[in-house]
């Protein structure tokens, strides 16, 4: 192995040690959902916000809360409702009658881990305020800019059913989420364990096992992880195939309205690195890209009317692209 990659590999193995502890701690509360937990960690390590989609009762909120509890970080839950205002999230300026001055009241967004529950239930201006904060990592209250704490991670959830009275996120804003994770039902054995664990009275709790500094150090190592040119080309090919499928011999052009943005390439790279980090590797393989690809791309490919009419989803198209573009 190349000495530099070997050095990265050693750092990864050292710095990724906390991930095992974190998973074990979360596992005290959450049964199964290993896929979801791994994606949460990827978001945490790659500094990318996550959008969780799933029917109610799949432990989305509990998973996020447990993660926040296991990380020694400030956690805030924001329940999005139609009457929510931007100031309810980012904060506002309050007039102090006693001394006749204005003081800044920071909103709940000033936390390390934000759970934006049912983000599609709030109107566009609230969504926009949150998403701007996610992008800029700072908010402006009364002409004064305030940096958001580091690490800053937004985990938003949305419910795919009950669409009445919701405000679907515009594509441009969805694009700001690094991953869109579809949370599925637990399997039979997991369901049984959930039932056993949650019906004994005392709900298990977790202890903080990771500090924000651990996460920041890990993030730095993640960015240093080696990614070969062949793998980079593979990522670019995947993204380009979503824009110009005909150039790759794919017959899905009529199904795609818009292909993936350059953010897709960036996030595929970063998420693949975080995926490799979780496996204690100092380099990325195509398997990392493929493992994370669906979550990075599913909300970035906008399907056409024809695809909707034929009930073809963006996931179907992504699977076709991954099946067609051979790994290097």
């Amino acid at each position: 192995m190349h000495p530099e990659i070997e050095a990265i590999q050693q750092r990864v193995q050292t710095e990724s040690e906390f991930c095992r502890k974190l998973v074990d701690e979360i596992g005290k509360v959450i049964v199964g959902q290993t896929y979801l937990i791994e994606r949460l960690l990827i978001g945490l390590l790659a500094d990318g916000h996550l959008l969780l989609e799933g029917v109610p009762g799949l432990a989305k909120t509990m998973s996020v809360r447990t993660l926040a509890d296991a990380v020694q970080a400030k956690f805030q839950r924001l329940q999005f409702t139609p009457d929510l205002l931007p100031a309810d999230i980012i904060g506002t300026v309050i007039y102090n009658m006693q001394n006749g001055t204005f003081s800044t009241k920071k909103g709940p967004i000033f936390a390390n881990i934000i759970l934006a529950d049912e983000i599609n239930r709030a109107p566009a201006k609230v969504q926009s305020a949150l998403l701007e904060a996610m992008q800029e990592r700072q908010v402006t209250i009364s002409e004064q800019t305030h940096k958001l704490p580091v690490p800053f991670l937004v985990l938003a959830t949305q419910n795919p059913i009950e669409q009445e009275g919701t405000y679907p996120l515009p594509e441009a804003q969805v694009d700001r989420f690094m991953l869109k994770i579809k949370v599925d039902y637990p399997n039979k054995a997991e369901e049984r364990r959930i039932m056993d664990r949650m019906t004994v009275g005392a709900v298990p709790t977790v202890q903080p096992v990771v500090s924000p500094e651990d996460i920041l150090r890990a993030r730095k190592v993640v960015t240093e992880i080696y990614i070969d040119d062949k793998v980079k080309d593979y990522i670019v090919d995947i993204v380009f195939a979503s824009r110009r499928p005909e150039a790759y011999g794919l017959d899905v052009k009529q199904l795609i309205l818009y292909g993936a943005s350059p953010r897709a390439s960036i996030y595929l790279n970063l998420a693949a690195k975080a995926h490799a980090f979780l496996r204690g590797r100092g380099f990325v393989t195509p398997e990392d890209v493929k493992s994370i690809g669906l979550d990075v791309l599913r909300h970035r490919i906008i399907v056409s009317y024809e695809a909707e009419a034929e009930e073809i989803t963006s996931e179907d198209i992504i699977k076709k692209i991954f099946d067609h573009i051979e790994v290097p």
């Binding site: 192995m1 190349h2 530099e4 990659i5 590999q9 080696y226 070969d228 062949k230 793998v231 590797r281 100092g282 380099f283 990325v284 393989t285 195509p286 398997e287 493929k290 573009i325 051979e326 790994v327």
Partner: protein, 278 residues
């Protein structure tokens, strides 16, 4: 014709040849005719003997005759036909036989001589070509042709079989050849190229065994395909392990050196050996 007048009548003898220009082996007929008008009958004529001629060979003779009485005169006629075969070429003279008779005037034997007839015998025509003589050659040619064709077919079949073997080697043969070609890479520690080629060997071998396409897939996907194809757990786990090592070497900037390469090499080589045991 020779005409002889005697006291008791007149004798006329004549002769002719069926042809005067012949070839050797042709048939020649000499006709000799004697006519008598008088008080006697032709029974007085003895059968003549043809004059021998080295150019001609007598093959047969016939005789015929008639007699009638007209106005108190006997008219008798006798004709001899002599058949010959021309046996020698050249110009010769056919001397008709002497017609012998008894002269009643003198009471003695007499003869009437006929003039010789000139005959030209050309050499025999060249014998017609005997095609039967060609049979051995024809037969030989047929046998040689069949032999050549059979030989050509055998050579062609062998060449085709050799080509077929070359083009349609068994997956194990192909893998064995490719593995052999990897040895120098192993020795020279060209690990990235070695593992890239080794991955192709593994994919080719297991594609053929599982009947599924494996190229362009990740190690996990390959293992999944093999599992679905009914490959044993131990085998697909080993395939995955080696492929993962290939990927780590290719995308992680090298491998654990010669020993690591040799270990992977030996695992793949072992797949090519026929299973042992009962």
């Amino acid at each position: 014709m020779t005409h002889v007048t005697v006291a008791r009548g007149a004798i006329s003898v004549s002769s002719d040849l069926s042809a005067t220009s012949l070839r050797v082996t042709d048939t020649l007929v000499l006709r000799v005719s004697a006519r008598w008008e008088g008080e006697e009958t032709l029974y007085r004529f003895a059968t003549p003997r043809p004059v021998e001629n080295p150019s001609l060979q007598l093959t047969g003779q016939t005789v015929g005759g008639s007699q009638r009485l007209e106005n108190g005169v006997f008219i008798s006629q006798k004709t001899w036909h002599f058949a010959f075969i021309c046996v020698q070429s050249g110009t010769t003279e056919v001397v008709p036989p002497v017609i012998a008779y008894t002269n009643n005037e003198t009471g003695a034997a007499d003869s009437a001589i006929i003039s010789p007839i000139s005959l030209t015998i050309a050499p025999a025509p060249p014998p017609p070509f005997d095609y039967t003589r060609l049979w051995p050659y024809v037969l030989g040619l047929v046998v040689v042709s069949i032999g050549a064709y059979a030989g050509m077919m055998i050579v062609r079949r062998r060449r085709r079989a050799a080509l077929h073997r070359k083009l349609h080697k068994t997956p194990e043969e192909q893998a064995a050849e490719l593995l052999e070609a990897l040895k120098p890479l192993k020795r020279e520690d060209k690990s990235e190229q070695f593992y890239g080629d080794l991955e192709k060997v593994i994919q080719g071998l297991w594609e053929a065994r599982a009947g599924r396409r494996l190229a362009g897939k990740t190690p996990t996907e390959v293992a999944q395909v093999l599992l679905e194809a009914g490959v044993s757990e131990a085998e697909y786990a080993t395939v995955r392990e080696v492929l993962v090592q290939c990927h780590h070497a290719r995308f992680g900037g090298g491998s654990g050196g010669y020993d690591a390469m040799d270990k992977s090499y030996q695992i793949v080589s072992a797949w090519l050996k026929p299973p042992t045991g009962s």
